[in-house]
Amino acid sequence: MKIPQGSIKSRMKDFIVRTYLGRKDAPLGDGDSFLGEGIIDSIGVIELVAFIQETYNIKIAVPEIIPANLDTLDNLERFIIRKLSGL
C-alpha cells in the first residue's frame, strides 16, 4: 500500500483535533504528547486504535498499544508506516 508522504500525519492530526480539541485551528505539534498534555484518556486511546484499524485496515495487538507507538503524531506516523510495511 503506497501512502503519500505526510498524509498519515495529517489524517491523524485531523482526527485528534476534530475529536478531542474541537477547533480545526487548535495547536497540536508533531511531538506533543496526547497523554501528557491531557488530550486523550483511556477511552480516547481505544477510539484512536479503532480509528487507525478501520482507516488503514490493520490489526493492532495489545502489546502494540504503547505510548512509543501512539502518544504523538510523530509516533503514530512511524508506527502506521511500520505496520503497513508488514514489519
Binding site: G36, G38, D41, S42, G44, V45, E47, I65, I66, P67
Partner: protein, 331 residues
Amino acid sequence: MKLCKNCVLPVGFPHITFDEEGVCSLCRAYKGRSAALGLRKEYTKRFERLLKESAGKSAYDVLMCYSGGKDSTYTLDILRKKYGLSVLAFTFDNGFIPERTYVNIRNVVEALGVDHVFFKPDFNIVKRLFTHTLRHCPYPAKTLERASAVCTTCMGLVKYTALKTAVEKEIPLIAFGWSPGQAPVTSSIIRLGPEMVSAMELAIKAPMKKIAGGPVDRFFLEKRHYAAAATLPAFVHPLAFTEYDEKKILACIKRLGWKLPKDVEMNATNCLLNPLGDEEHIKRYGFHPYALEIAAFVREGCMTRPEGIRHLPFRKDRRLLASLRKRLGVS
C-alpha cells in the same frame, strides 16, 4: 436552551455542530439501531471469549466496581446470574454515599451471594480533591463532555484503587456499571499493557498530587504492581453491549432489595455529591454533564425524547446543596 430536534443534546455542546434542520452532528453520523445491535452482539462475543480465556485463573473471575447505584447493581446481577461469575464487589466510599445505599449494597451482595469490600479513603484528602475540582478541571477537556470534573476525580480514584486491588488479588477483569450512553460500545472492553496504563495513570495522578500532595500516591499503583502483573486486568463495562431499559433495570434490582435513596438524581443514584458537581458544571460550561449520556440513550432508543428531556433539568435543592457545601467547607 435549544436542543437537537432528534436527541436532547443542547446547542453549544463542545465539538458538536447543528444543521439547518436543528439536528446535531452525532445524530447525523449515527449509523442506526440495527448497526448498534450488530456491534452489541460482536462485543458480547468478545466478552464471552475474554471470560473463557480468564476463567478459573483466580479466586475471583472479576472485580466489580460497585457504587451501589442502579446501573452497577444491575451489572452485578448480570455478572452473577447471566454469566455465573465469581465476583468480588468493591465499593469506593467517597464520603457522600446516602445511608440507604449502604442498606442497598448489603441487600444486593447478600441476595447475589458475592464477597464485598469497602475502601474508605481519608476524607481530608478526598475533600481537598473535590473542593478543588468543583471549581477547576485539571483533566483533559474531553472528560468534561462525559462528566463533571468532580465526578472524574472520583472515577479516577475508583479506577486506580480498584486496579491496584485487582492486581494484588490477581483478578483478571474489572467491571464497571457505565451505561451505554457513558462510553461507546467500541470502548466497552479495554485491554492495555503496563506502559500505557502507567502513562494514563500519571495523567490523573499528577494533577491530583498537585492538589493534595504525596498522600495521593497510596491510591495508585506502585512499581511493584506493574512488575508483578504479566498482563494487567482488562476493563469491561457490560451494559454497553446489553439491552438498557431503565424501567426493567429498576424492576430487576427491586427484587434484590434495592430502593431509590432520597436526595439523589436518577442520573446518579449512589452519590449525594453529584448535584453539586452538576450545578458547578452547568454554571461553568453551560450544559448538563449528563447531556451526552441522555442524548445517546434517546438516539439508541433506550428512552424516548420526552423522557430524555425529563431527565435533563437540574433540580436545584438549595437545602441539599447548602449541606454539601458545608461538608466540603466551600462557600
